[in-house]
Symmetry: C2
C-alpha cells in the first residue's frame, strides 16, 4: 500500500531520474519532455506484465526494472541506433510500496547509466498487477544509418551475436524452483551442481532475469553494412521468419553452427528437452540476428569483437521464402522451430 | 478470449494504423518506428487502466481508445506543440476479443486522423484488466517555441480555454446510473431531463467520456507569447499549483470569472455539490491554463477564437507563491480547492 499520494510518488520517481543526455533539453516534471534529436530517431514500445513476462517470486524488483528497459533497448540495438531517451509507465499494485517502486527504478536507472540512456519521463498509476510500459528513443545521424528487417539479399551471410539458449535454460532452472512436476530430474540436477557448473547455472539465470541489449554490437553491425537485423526476443525460428518475410527472401540456418551458451545442453537434458529447441524457439536471448554481404564478414566480426561480443556465421540468405533450419544429422526443422513439434 | 496468436493480433492492429505523417519514415512493423523530427520534440506518456481511469460499463471501447489518445495529446497541447506520432501499448484481458481490440483502436485512429497524429507503433500483451499506455511525440521548430510550466511572471494575465466543470459533472451523471446511494436526487434529476436540458446532459457525458485535446488553442497561445501553460487534468486548483511552483510565483484566480460549462450548476446542485467544486477540483476537463503578458490578451483571445475555442481571463500572476482562488462572496479557497475541504 502506497501511503503517499500520486504527486508525491511521481516526485520520488522523478528524483531517481538522472538528468542529462546530449539531446534532452527538459527532462521529467513538465507536461512533456523536450528534446532536440538532430537526425533520425528510432522509437520502440514494450510492455512487461507480472505473470505474463516475469514472476515476482523469481525476480527482484531491481531485476524487473532492468529487464523492462533491456528488452526495450534491444529493439534499438536491432536498428543499429544509439540509445537516447526512455519513458516509463509504471502500473503499481496495492501491495507494492514506495521503497519497492524505488528499488525497481534503481535497477532501471543502473542499466540506463550503463547504456547512456536518459530516463526522460514517466507516469505512475494504480494497476491490479505490476505493469511496466517502456518507450525508448534511439538516434542515428540519418535514416540510412538505421537497419530494418527488410534489406536482406540472396547471397548475404547470416550472423548471430553472442550465445543462444541461455535465457530458455535459465527459465528451466527457475521452473525447477517452482516445483513444476514435469522437471524433477532438472531439480535434482540443479541441486547437484557445484563449482564451475554452479557458476554456469547462475549465468543462465542471469541471462533470463537480467538480459543485456546488444547496443554496441548492433551499431557495429550497422556500420559494417548489415542489410537486415532483428533482435532474438521470440526465438531464432520465429524472428528469422520476420526477416525472411520483410525482406522477401529465404533464410538457411545451419543448426550445428548455432553458438549455444555453456550449460544449455545440461539444463535441456535434465529437463528432457533438446538443446537446439532452447536455442531456436526458447526466445528472450536478446542477441542479434543480422544479414550482411559475405565479403564484409571479417570486418563485422572484428567490429563486434571490439564491442566485447562474439559474432558467429550461422547460415545464408537465399532466393525464395521462409526459414530452413538444417539439422546436423540431415533433415530440417519446420519454420517456427520446435514450436510446431509440440 | 483471443483466438488468434499474438503475431496475428499485432498484424491486425498494424492494419488499423494509418501510415504517413510528414516525419514518419518507417511505421509499425519493424523493431522500431523511424522518424525524422527536424526540430524540437515534446514527448509525453500516459496510462489508462480499467477501474482506475475508466469503467468498461460506462464507456464504449471506441471511447476508451479515443480518451487514451486525447489525454496524452492534451499534454502536447499544453506545450504548444504540433501533434506528431503516437505509440500505444495495449494490455488485453482474456474477455476482450479481437473485434473489441479493433473497435478500441478505431476510436483511437479516428481522433488520430482528426488531430493529424500518426499511430506509428505499438505493442500488444496480455494483462489482467484493459490497460493502455500511450506515448505521444509533438513537434515545434525550436525549443523556444514550446511552453513549459516555468515561465509565468508577476503581472502576467491568467487565462483558461473553453469551459470547466463539465467532465466532473458528466461523472456525476454516470454515477447516477451506477446506482451510487449518495446521489438519488441526481438520478431523479437526470431522468427528468428533456429537450435542451437533455442535450446539455449529453454534452456533459461527452466531456467526460470523449475529451478533446486543445491542440490548436495551445499552439495559438504559444504563438501569442504564453509564458507558462498546463492542461487541466487534475483540476484547476492542483494544476495551477504546478505552474506556481515551477514558475516560482503566486497565482490569483477569480472564482466568479471561471467559465462553467452549461449544465454543471444543475448537475452539481442535484448531487448536493458546489458547481465551483466541480470546476476547480473535478479535473479531466483537459482545457488549458496559461499565463501571458497582459498586453497580448487581445491577440491571444482572437487567435484562440480562430482555433474555435473561447479564452477567458481568470486572474493574474503575482509575486509570492501558491494559488489563491477568490470566492465571489469574499474569502478564498485553499490552494488545492475543495479537495482539502472534504
Amino acid at each position: 500500500m502506497i501511503a503517499m499520494g500520486e504527486f508525491e510518488l511521481i516526485e520520488a520517481v522523478r528524483r531517481r531520474l538522472p538528468r542529462g543526455g546530449p539531446r534532452v533539453v527538459l527532462g521529467s516534471g513538465d507536461d512533456a519532455a523536450v528534446t532536440l534529436p538532430e537526425g533520425a530517431t528510432a522509437t520502440s514500445v514494450d510492455a512487461l506484465v507480472d505473470g505474463v513476462h516475469f514472476r515476482r517470486e523469481w525476480s527482484s524488483l531491481a531485476q524487473i526494472g532492468h529487464k523492462a528497459l533491456a528488452v526495450a533497448l534491444s529493439d534499438l540495438a536491432a536498428m543499429g541506433a544509439e540509445a537516447g531517451e526512455a519513458y516509463v509507465v509504471l502500473g503499481v499494485p496495492k501491495e507494492l510500496d514506495e521503497e519497492g517502486c524505488i528499488e525497481l527504478l534503481d535497477g532501471m536507472a543502473a542499466l540506463a547509466a550503463q547504456t547512456g540512456t536518459t530516463l526522460a519521463g514517466g507516469d505512475v498509476t494504480r494497476a491490479p498487477v505490476l505493469t511496466l510500459a517502456m518507450t525508448v528513443v534511439g538516434h542515428a545521424p540519418t535514416t540510412e544509418d538505421l537497419v530494418t528487417r527488410a534489406g536482406a539479399r540472396p547471397g548475404d551471410a547470416l550472423v548471430v551475436s553472442g550465445e543462444l539458449g541461455g535465457a530458455a535454460a535459465g527459465l528451466l532452472l527457475l521452473e525447477v524452483d517452482a516445483e513444476t512436476p514435469a522437471t524433477p530430474r532438472a531439480r535434482s540436477r540443479f541441486e547437484s551442481l557445484s563449482g564451475s557448473k554452479l557458476d554456469r547455472g547462475r549465468l543462465l539465470l542471469a541471462r533470463q532475469l537480467e538480459p543485456l541489449p546488444r547496443l554496441e554490437a548492433g551499431r557495429a553491425l550497422a556500420a559494417a553494412g548489415a542489410t537486415a537485423m532483428i533482435d532474438l526476443s521470440d526465438g531464432l525460428g520465429g524472428d528469422a521468419g520476420h526477416v525472411a518475410e520483410a525482406s522477401g527472401v529465404g533464410l538457411r540456418i545451419d543448426a550445428a553452427a548455432l553458438p549455444l551458451q555453456a550449460g544449455v545442453a545440461e539444463a535441456a537434458e535434465a529437463a528432457g528437452r533438446e538443446p537446439l529447441e532452447l536455442a531456436t524457439s526458447g526466445g528472450e536471448d536478446y542477441e542479434l540476428l543480422a544479414a550482411l554481404p559475405a565479403e564484409r564478414l571479417g570486418e563485422a566480426t572484428a567490429a563486434v569483437a571490439a564491442a566485447g561480443t562474439q559474432l558467429t556465421p550461422v547460415g545464408e540468405v537465399v532466393a525464395g521464402e521462409g526459414v530452413e533450419i538444417r539439422l546436423p544429422g540431415g533433415g530440417t526443422l519446420p519454420p517456427a522451430g520446435f514450436d510446431q513439434l509440440r
